[in-house]
Each structure stands twice: as structure tokens, then as C-alpha cells.
Symmetry: C2
DNA sequence: CGACCGATTGATAGACATCAACTGTCGTGG
DNA sequence: CCACGACAGTTGATGTCTATCAATCGGTCG
């Protein structure tokens, strides 16, 4: 964790520049003066894979890595209810109705902001509040998409949809448009907990997709999608 | 639909008073002057059961009735991804990533506001934007709760959870604390589409709950829950 | 090396879906 | 008034998808 009270305005702007553009405009809603103020109040964190993120009210930009949100039933059954991929934005103002655990799937780098600073800026800049609302609604859309998948898709459609979702979020750019490859940041158990399946079913369906030629698998975690459009056929929607 | 350009300030405040308190403070965030302005721009609508609600950007208070949100897969499979019960607040700024259909399950009464008026008031009153964000996050919590149910609960747990959810939202008040009764505003097909089951399974599980004494059913749609706490045991969480 | 963990694969079981028959209710029209 | 069909719902017989139980494999770490 690195404080930044010493940085100069020019430095700050340089630091923010790289993620500002990628963040879908969250910081982009701010005036330069506010950006400087925010950056000065920000702090960087590195979090190891497997660590639970504190659930205080702070907001963070996810600079790198993948984070999962899980909800548990009383007897230990687990459901992953969401992911964050860099460069996404984490943070939950107001407390949730139900406990949700936030955990790093990979090593993670965060740029965190105290809640008080953001809250004050919302008052000064309604556009920032609008961005937060837009972001929350985007998460809501995602959750509802996965509700449809969990309720109505077959195991194999779930897997196909899941692989495409991951690919869209972390696939290395520079691939020809209709194919891609990436490292899965999840274990089979995590995939199962996300898709409402067992690890055995996940494994079987991945194997089937592989033998069908729809995907290639190297070393368990490295996935290639030779034809994205072909995989989309298998999604059910 | 009734325009209200003629009403006086005192009338407006009287009209709003009854729902303002119930709405979890959405209009409560407004100053009296704004409330008057908003009420003057508002219009009442009555919508028949089974009708699809227009997906323009307008916001509405749901004064009475029940509304469902559905998402469809390409081959006709359907998933209900949310409900609105009076007195809730409907309205989606920014367009959704995926098409979602909004439909009245019962006859519905709405008090609608043009988007432009609300948007301007957000600029004037950041607290209103905060309320909208809080509301969206509440919907997100609900969606994630149902993700866990869809992915990890058994059919019978899903039914129990569903009945409790409906009861909490529409049960007539005045019941002794641990029992309640209500009319289901949904068909078995709707319940199935919400819980990711078939109508036959829904019917069977309802019958089983009835023969277990956990619920009583009169005329297919009138449900009594003799013991809420006993039903909560059957929810899995 | 042995223990452990993630993953794969096989055999079997079970929960829920599918197919089908039937009931009761309602509205329509002869 | 009753016949008729349409529709919501229930219940039974059977099928199938995915879970469960179990064995095995490869990699990693102490």
C-alpha cells in the first residue's frame, strides 16, 4: 500500500491517464481538479490470490486480476454471483441485504479511494453519481443474464456461455477477430459454483466441447476458442 | 391517463403523501417545491393484467399490482428475472445490454414521471441520485439472491423461498406475526419460469408442502402460511 | 518419496423433466 | 340450458440429465 500525498498534479494525471480511459468513464466524469484530489487520496494495494477483500465501504479500481463474489447457503452450498475483471470498478455504497463475500481469484492490484471523498464528489458532480448508477445497472443486467442461464440453460450451454464471458473480459487482444485464447483464472470448482453444477459435470462438458473441436485445452487452464461464432451457437441465446 | 396540470400545491402534497412514505424515500429525497413540480408532471395509468409495459425511459411508482421482468432464450425458453410489487419503483435509465420484457401480472396502477424531469432533479438534488443508486443496488441484491436459489437450491427449497418472498411483499397486514395468507398473482407457469422448473414440478412440490402441513391452498391461488418460521426452515438459507 | 490437490473418467443413483391422462372452471354459442 | 372447447392445474408413468460415489492420473510441495 502506497500513499500518494507527495505526488504532484502532473504525476497524478499521468498515473490516472492509463486507467481513466479504460474505466468506462468513471473517473472520466470528474473535473481535473477532482481527479487530482481523488488521486491524492488514493492508495494502491496488492492482494494475493485466495484472499478475501475487506468489505468496508471503500471504492476501488481493479487495475489487474480477477475477483469473485460468492453467496453461501447455510449448509455450505455456494454460489458465485458475480465477477470483476480488470479494468472494472468495485465498491458497494450502502450495505447489502445479505452477506456476500468478495475474494481475489488471482493476484489483484487495486487503486482504492476512501468512501468519504467519493461521496462528497457525488454531491459536487451529479455526473459521477450517474456513472455509479450506470455501473450498478450494468451489474444488474449481468446478474439477470446469469439468472436466465442458471434457470434455463443446459450444462453444456452454461459452459459455452461462461467461456465466452471470460474470453470477452480477459482475452488477450491482438487475436484475429473470430478466435482467441486465455488462461482461466478459476478452478473447476469455481466454475461449478458459478454455473450451478458439480466439478465432474464441468469437467465432462469441457471434455466434450474439446472432443467436438469447439475449444482446445492445454494444461487444464489454458483455453483456446478457435471459433467464437461457433461457440456462440452453443449458448442457447 | 390523467394529466395533472391543474392541481394546486396543497392537493399535490396530499396526493403524494400516501405513497411518499411507503416508497422507501424515493420522493422523500425531494424538496417540497420539487415534489410539487414532479407531481404536476406526473400522470396516472391503469394497465390490464397481461399487458406489456412500454420500455421508454419513464420512471413510475407502482401504486398497486404486480409486474414481472422476463428474459427469453432464442428457442422460447423463458426466465423471470425479477418482480415489482406495489409500492415499488420502476424505471430504467440508460438502456439495458439485453432485451428484458416488462409485463403486468395483475391489473396495475402507475404514477409515471417523464425522464427529463427526474434527470434534471438529480442534478439539483444529489440525494435523489443516491436513492436511485440505492434502489438499483437493492435490485442487484435480489437478483443475486435468486442466482443462489436457481443454482444451488432444490425444487422444494425454491418453492418455499418463493412463497416467503411473495408473502413478504403482498401479504395483507394485520396477520399475527408468524402466519399470513395471500392470493398468488402468478400462474404455475410463471412460478416455473421464475424458479427454473416445470409447471408439473411446481405443482407437485406445492402439493407436497400442503400434505406436509407447511402451507394451505384454497382455490389454487389462495395460499396460507400457518407458520412462517417453519417455512423458513425449508428455504436452505 | 508420499501426501495432497486439481482434474478426468467411469458406474450408478436420483431429482426433475417429459409425456400423457384427467379434473375442474370458465366463457361461448348453438 | 347444456355442449363444447380452451385453459389452469393435478397426478401418474417413464425418461434423461446431472449428481453422487469412486477410482485414477498428473503435478507440486514438504
Amino acid at each position: 500500500m502506497t500513499a500518494r500525498h507527495d505526488v504532484q498534479q502532473a504525476d497524478v494525471l499521468a498515473i490516472c491517464k492509463s486507467c481513466e480511459t479504460r474505466q468506462g468513464g468513471l473517473c472520466g466524469a470528474l473535473k481535473a481538479r477532482q481527479l487530482v484530489e481523488l488521486a491524492k487520496a488514493s492508495s494502491r494495494h496488492e492482494i494475493l490470490a485466495g484472499t478475501e477483500l475487506p468489505n468496508d465501504g471503500t471504492y476501488s479500481s481493479l487495475l489487474s486480476g480477477v475477483v469473485k463474489l460468492t453467496r453461501n447457503l447455510s449448509d455450505g452450498r455456494q454460489q458465485i454471483v458475480g465477477f470483476y475483471f480488470a479494468p472494472d470498478f468495485l465498491g458497494r455504497p450502502f450495505e447489502a441485504k445479505r452477506p456476500i463475500k468478495t475474494e481475489a481469484l488471482t493476484n489483484v492490484a487495486l487503486c482504492s479511494f476512501p468512501r468519504t471523498v467519493i461521496d462528497r464528489m457525488i454531491d459536487e458532480t451529479p455526473e459521477l453519481g450517474r456513472q455509479l448508477l450506470r455501473h450498478a445497472l450494468g451489474e444488474l443486467d449481468d446478474a439477470r443474464d446469469w439468472m436466465a442461464a442458471l434457470g434455463r440453460k443446459t450444462a453444456s450451454e452454461k459452459i459455452a456461455s461462461f467461456l465466452l464471458m471470460v474470453a470477452r473480459n480477459i482475452a488477450a487482444s491482438g487475436h484475429p477477430g473470430n478466435s482467441t485464447s486465455f488462461d482461466l483464472p478459476l478452478t473447476r470448482a469455481d466454475i461449478a459454483d458459478f454455473l450451478g453444477l458439480t466439478i465432474e459435470t464441468v469437467s465432462r462438458e469441457l471434455s466434450r466441447l474439446r472432443s467436438d473441436g469447439a475449444i482446445r485445452i492445454a494444461n487444464k487452464r489454458q483455453i483456446s476458442l478457435p471459433s467464437i461464432s461457433q461457440l456462440e451457437q452453443r449458448c442457447g441465446d
